[in-house]
Amino acid sequence: MQDVSTSPGSIARTAPDRAVAGTWLIAVASILFAALVLAQSLYKAEVIGWGFETWRPIALAYVGWGVALALGMVWRRGIEGHKSLFVLPAVLFTVAMVIFPTFFGLYIAFTDWNLSSFEGRRFSGLKNLYALFADPYYWNALGNMVFYVLTVLVQYAIAFGLALLLNAEIKARKFFRVAFLLPFMLSPVAVSWMIGKSLLEYRYGPVAKLARFLGWDSPAFFTSPWVAKTSIAVMDAWVWIPFIMIMLLAGLQALPKELSEAAKVDGASKWQSFWQITFPLMLPVSITAIVLRIIFQLKLADIVINVTSGGPGGATDTVSSFIFREYRDRSNVGYGTMLAEFYLVLIIIFITLLLSIANRWVKKTQ
């Protein structure tokens, strides 16, 4: 114990003035910053007569306070202070960008606030929450999310197949890998136009023409609910399958070659060796890929917003696209934020459950 404590202790002893100065620096900077925030809030609340027009100087002051904090830490704690400098910027940044909006969002969620009405923000208690439970469109969107999350399993199956293909002994592997990866790079908005609004277009789209050729008389991809939902899912799969595929491919390449060869010598068929050796060994990678993919899937919005705007009759709506329209078209800020916060709670519960089930499953199979 003695040995461990000597090194910071000796630094503190050789430069006690700096340590004191560091403490003072942090204290003074904090007081200054708090005073600034207080003064600005009072000015905004029209209690005092002077202040800044916007809060932007306060944001700069926050940066300044961060610098002072970092400097103070170094002066006060020497090497330990230097070490804390590594995480300090990221922590301060994330705290500033997340903590305030989250709490402020919680406050907005309990207000009645429509940007297009003149009344401004009014506290309304649980009214938004009651409205949420009575809103069939929101529950419909949540139901759609269940469908979209389940399509991840189909994407996973296709991606696994593609990863196996790329892992086989083939020529021009690099070409195929790049070609398969490209859809992942494209912006969902561009994809919405490229596929949703032109390839699948009712009159001239090549896919519609192909469907007519194959005997489907009126290939409308976005007019009946389930077809529309499937079309959105197909577009989403087109973009995201490469993501799962690349992770699975890396997993396949990390598998020891001897295992499958041993299975071959033992006379196992390819089918057997896949299900009894490759698949179980791939389980951890698979679960990581699926969980990550589901996390991203829960944010699905761009394609839906741009191709169907949730139609027909909300059949393709995701929660995010529904709230997006609540904000942009109806300016219903308070209610929209309540929907979003409620969704966040559901997501946290769902992801926590998912992770614990996944962990237990991986442990059981190993």
């Binding site: 070490k83 995480v87 907005i108 195929f176 790049v178 859809p183």
Partner: protein, 307 residues
Amino acid sequence: MTVMAHTQARSRHVTPVRLGRIVGKVAIYALLIFWAFVSLFPIYWTFSTSFKKAANVMKGHLIPWIDYVPDWLGWRSLGLSPDTLFNTSTVRDEFLNRFENSVIASLSASTLAVVIGACAAYGLSRFEYKFGPMKNKDISFFFLSQLILPPVVLAMPFLVLYKELAFLDTRIGLILLYTLMVLPIVIWIMRDQFDTIPIELEQAAMVDGCSVWGAFLRIVLPIALPGMVAAFILSVILCWNEYFFAALLTSTHAKTLPVMVASQTGSQGISWWSMAALSAAAILPLIVIGITLERYIVKGLTAGSVK
């Protein structure tokens, strides 16, 4: 004995086995080519449509020079065809402005995220922290948990916050938000990268008189450079494609390319060629990145998934 038996069995069934292998090979290549077609056709379609005329679109012509004559129609409407390139064009000015916004927002946000993310990842991989009750594991979890935050939750608070900060419709506002968005991914990739670098390297450097930061900057960073490039490129892709926040938080000055593409789709009916040209211009940089830097993208995507 068993080896003998196997070779005998193989020589007896040589024709069916070889036949099966050929069929398997053909099936593999057929599937590969099919999926390559699925992946590439929409991209090909977009680029080829930007050179079509109305009649070509309606008749469903697909192959330039064989069933239709390429024309600069789509690119002319953007002011980017050879004959309009030196004339003044308001559409082109708008396009270039959106393009510039996208470039600046995604490059700056990715740089910022990689700088602070790499530092944080290094700290979390090497040192023991204690911020109150939070230890390394909790701090890592705090960063990674930002991943599950859906953009809709932050959207309204940010609209209000940015209004107060006068950050609405500015590039700096977008940059900060995008940094927040990609930071967890950068930390995830970089921590995986630093964990693979042996700690003895820095210990040796510190014995030689390097400071903590000296060892990090001079010894570790050069080794971790591929990981940083991977994190940077992945961030650029994500920021370039971001639509949700850009649509809500920008209006005239800081609008990015995806918002411009999205705003065209509804209003003009189907002027397919100009939409195709616009989409093609929006995805072209990413396709170039994808083809030339594929190695790094794969590295970034697979970080932490394979132990």
